[in-house]
């Protein structure tokens, strides 16, 4: 369900969410804010369980962007986790805060709306995501294989920090298994 196995730093095979947590940690990300998504659950669980991270839910995704932006200016690195529909609420916060103020807000988006979506609203919302990111020239990568998680996550965070620009990591159902309608 979670893609093919890949060797990791330790040489053992681990699921995507553990790799992602470790890469976030190695890059000094200490704050994880989110509005939950079912597919993100394993990642949210390991972040909550890890005392190196301050992890909490916000009431809206733009609130989370504000918090992570403030934390960055105060010297603490953070990320915002959300699903596709949450990203769709963010154009104003990204275009008025993260981009012009040059703040590296790292967004981790679980991709709904494709590869077997059952909810038409999610499918349409999904189609707005990459055009919005492209229109603001925001670096984004879609992770679809387990062996890509470490490299893409690590390099994307590093580039965001070095170029002082927000960035998005889109987690494809090919990686996570996505969400399917239970009969």
């Amino acid at each position: 369900m979670t893609g093919s196995a890949a060797p990791t730093v330790a040489g053992a095979t681990r699921p995507w969410h553990e790799i992602m947590r470790d890469v976030l940690k190695q890059n000094q990300v200490r704050l994880a804010t989110y509005v939950p998504d079912n597919v993100l659950r394993p990642l949210l669980d390991v972040l909550h369980a890890d005392r190196d991270f301050t992890t909490f839910a916000t009431t809206r995704e733009e609130e989370a962007v504000g918090i992570v932006a403030g934390a960055w200016m105060g010297g603490m690195r953070g990320c915002v986790l959300m699903q596709t529909s949450g990203f769709a609420t963010l154009a104003n916060a990204i275009a008025s805060l993260a981009v012009p103020f040059q703040i590296p807000v790292v967004m981790i988006v679980s991709e709904r709306g494709t590869l077997g979506e059952f909810n038409w609203g999610q499918a349409l919302t999904c189609r707005t995501m990459r055009p919005v990111l492209d229109s603001l020239a925001i670096e984004h990568h879609t992770i679809s294989r387990l062996d890509e998680v470490e490299f893409i996550t690590d390099r994307t965070i590093k580039q965001a920090v070095m170029t002082q620009a927000p960035a998005a990591l889109i987690l494809s159902p090919l990686l996570t298994g996505g969400k399917v309608l239970k009969k």
Partner: protein, 204 residues
Amino acid sequence: MSAIDTESRGRGNAKVMNRFDITKRLVAKLKREEAVVGGIGNTNFDLWAAERRPQNFYMLGSMGLAAPIALGVALAQPQRRVIALEGDGSIMMQLGCLATIAHLKPRNLAIVIMDNAAYQITGSQPTATAHGADIVAIARGSGLDKSLWADDEAHFERLVDRCLAEDGPWLIATRIDAQPAVAQTERDPAKIRDRFMRGLGTRE
């Protein structure tokens, strides 16, 4: 009933003050490089006019995000006091952040609300507070126990002293008049952010 509950006369009896005047009174009390995050439009314009401190952040277009940005700063720097200045229309747009702050209980965070019962900068259309919404009641209902209306300028100053000395999170609401802001912030986001980070010691 705690002392806090009896300390304020409530919105109906709060004196209508002036935003620039109370912003100056607030800023005059900041002696320990406290961070101040101004909200969209007037709150950050009057903050800019009050004093161009490097620890001021002037948010430009993200209506409702002053308190979340201040919360982020407060989490990153628990030793520094952080104050958000926000309009009533703006906080009404992002009320959920009050519950988030109540959950996290940052001891070093205070929110000051400038309630003119209007979206002043877009033409003074009435906000929800013009129709009876009480931001202190909402904040308390969200779990922010230390939420109070400032009765007048002297009371406001006493509350600010407490915010700077005692554990928060705090919310001080003020009723303000319809005077426009006295100046306009320089609109250079990268410069604002860089200066703020130097002011916070996160940039050299």
